[in-house]
Symmetry: C2
Subunit: 340 residues, 2 copies
DNA sequence: CTGTTAGCGCTTTCAG
DNA sequence: CTGAAAGCGCTAACAG
């Protein structure tokens, strides 16, 4: 085995500097009640020794680890990856470290991970993505539970309770508007594509339904399609669906990958986009500019959502008021998969 | 302000159970020297109280926080997002938490972040991506420095030193083979696209050059092009490059996004793919199956790389031997942007 | 301005 | 098998 250097402690520094550990601690925390002289001397020794204060001893003493737990279903998901990236950078700028857990979609794993975060004594947790809100009150208890001890920030989820703060994009309006957009371009049979039921999916669905109703069109249940898997699978699901005789003249998808599945379906079946099939995706991810024609999509302002979340969080941790729920408008980005 | 529940401590449990904290600690750590009876009683109390041991008090006592630091340039990058996802899940399965830092490409930030990780007393750090290896020995000192105290795992980077363990994909062979592949399909002017100089980029470049040499073809420096920015920008760079009179019949790109930039360039200039222009990307990301034609790409076995990294790490932390350098073969995935 | 000391919550000898 | 007590490295009163 390699002989490891032992990490220095505050005692080593105090000894070398000929001062007490309290003084070292003070210069570490930039306390004003240290003479310039000793401060300089201590700092010098700290720098040349490469000493780095032990964050968790520090946390033990002060009661805050300056750490935030971020949970998301999977950072491999493009949207979540973006969110985590923004959140982490923002947190670090505010002096917080982030512990990341990719919990997947399994309920018990989520519960377990969030519990573990408590063990890490994180100062707060951020639940990124709408996968954390369950459909029943009792199943959401695991979130309420944590919120009794530390603030919980929801990104694209909503749960009304003390010490829970929600930042979400206005999925309802986004899909309401997108549906109307398709309608105005002449589409009458809009296929709604989603993956699993989630808080966000339900809002999107509601927007879709109400827009149709406002257009005097009845919602056709056979046009609501649940998909699973990757692009290729989605394409095949659509082909099967199509071959069964279902007719549709446009697709409104809950994420860009689904939408691109639809584009691939159209290519394979020689349906022309956007003339014979309009397609709108959601998230405005890189994917939407990779495909051709480029995908019309809904930009849900991920970065702004993250910025808001962190600024709320900082307020909360600072003991100030913060909004329990803020909803951010989205923006429709027309591209080549919808008529001009 | 909300009245927060205080988190329970080992003392609360010991009091309720009528045993000493040492005993509670023992059942927490599953020590065999506790009678079944007391163990059960204590466990019951722990469960009903929702007590979660304080991980950092624990770390202070035991000397290990059971935490790994992962640094990457940016999780928003698809490749890194995948890697981080695999790494985190794998680590958690092994009982480790992960602290994530998106350091960006700025040298001083990298240095600062890795230092901060030491403050978090992580048990090891993983540097994901080839951006951490600098071109000069002295600039790499910041890595060597950390490795004196904790193991450093490099994912797609190589630095020879004690306590540094490297897992990399065989970028050299990947690009050697890809170049030959293009050559065999008749391409004679292969444009090499990269972003910034990095360890990995240099290997790819070397593979490219040596393949050409082995084909009796001289490397043409004007066919080595550095690109910046997103897809759209890359497209424009290529258009400009092309309009200046540079000729090329194929593109070999260091990542898929660059390659898709090339596809977009071809579309705009009405150059037919793959007949007039062959394109090969790298990483085999989702992007490669979004575009059309779908992109031939190099699969660098990210998941396997991550699995190897974690298993090495576990060995190292366990005091066992581990390879200082393991290189993983890649796989060429032919798709629509190269001739059959 | 500086030092002393009592925790923070847990692990780990060392005695029983 | 169980308890007492000494740390782990730092912060935060409390004295000087």
């Amino acid at each position: 085995m390699i002989e490891k250097e032992k990490q220095h402690t505050i005692y080593d520094i105090s000894k070398k500097a000929g001062v007490s550990i309290a003084t070292v601690s003070r210069v570490l925390n930039n306390s004003p009640k240290v003479s310039q002289k000793t401060k300089e001397r201590v700092l010098e020794i700290i720098n040349e020794s490469g000493y780095e204060p032990n964050a968790y001893a520090r946390g033990l003493g002060s009661g805050s680890m300056k750490t935030i737990g971020i949970l998301c279903a999977d950072v491999a998901d493009i949207y979540l990856a973006n969110a985590v990236s923004f959140l982490e950078k923002n947190l670090r700028q505010n002096g917080f470290n982030t512990i990341l857990n990719c919990t997947g979609d399994d309920y018990s794993t989520k519960v377990q991970c969030i519990k573990a975060m408590e063990g890490q004594r994180v100062d707060a947790v951020i639940l990124a993505g709408s996968q954390y809100i369950e459909s029943t009150v009792s199943k959401n208890k695991y979130i309420i539970d944590v919120s009794k001890r530390i603030p919980v920030m929801l990104l694209n989820g909503y749960l009304k309770s003390d010490n829970i703060y929600c930042n979400l994009s206005d999925d309802y309006s986004a899909f309401y508007d997108a549906t109307k957009e398709l309608y105005q371009k002449g589409c009458r049979k809009i296929l709604f594509l989603y993956r699993e039921i989630s808080y966000s999916r339900n809002l999107k669905y509601k927007g879709y339904c109400e827009a149709l109703e406002d257009c005097q069109t009845e919602v056709d249940d056979s046009l609501i399609l649940r998909c699973v898997g990757k692009m290729e699978q989605i394409k095949h699901q659509l082909i099967t669906y199509y071959q069964k005789g279902h007719e549709f003249d446009s697709v409104l998808a809950c994420d860009d990958e689904l939408a691109i599945g639809a584009i691939k379906f159209a290519k394979e079946t020689r349906i022309r986009i956007p003339d014979e099939l309009g397609v709108i995706g959601c998230n405005n991810s890189v994917l939407s500019i990779c495909c051709s024609p480029e995908l019309s999509s809904i930009d849900n302002k991920c970065e702004m959502l993250c910025i808001n979340t962190i600024s709320s969080l900082m307020r909360v941790l600072d003991g100030q008021e913060a909004a329990q729920r803020t909803v951010l408008s989205t923006e429709y980005i027309p591209r080549g998969t919808t008529k001009m």
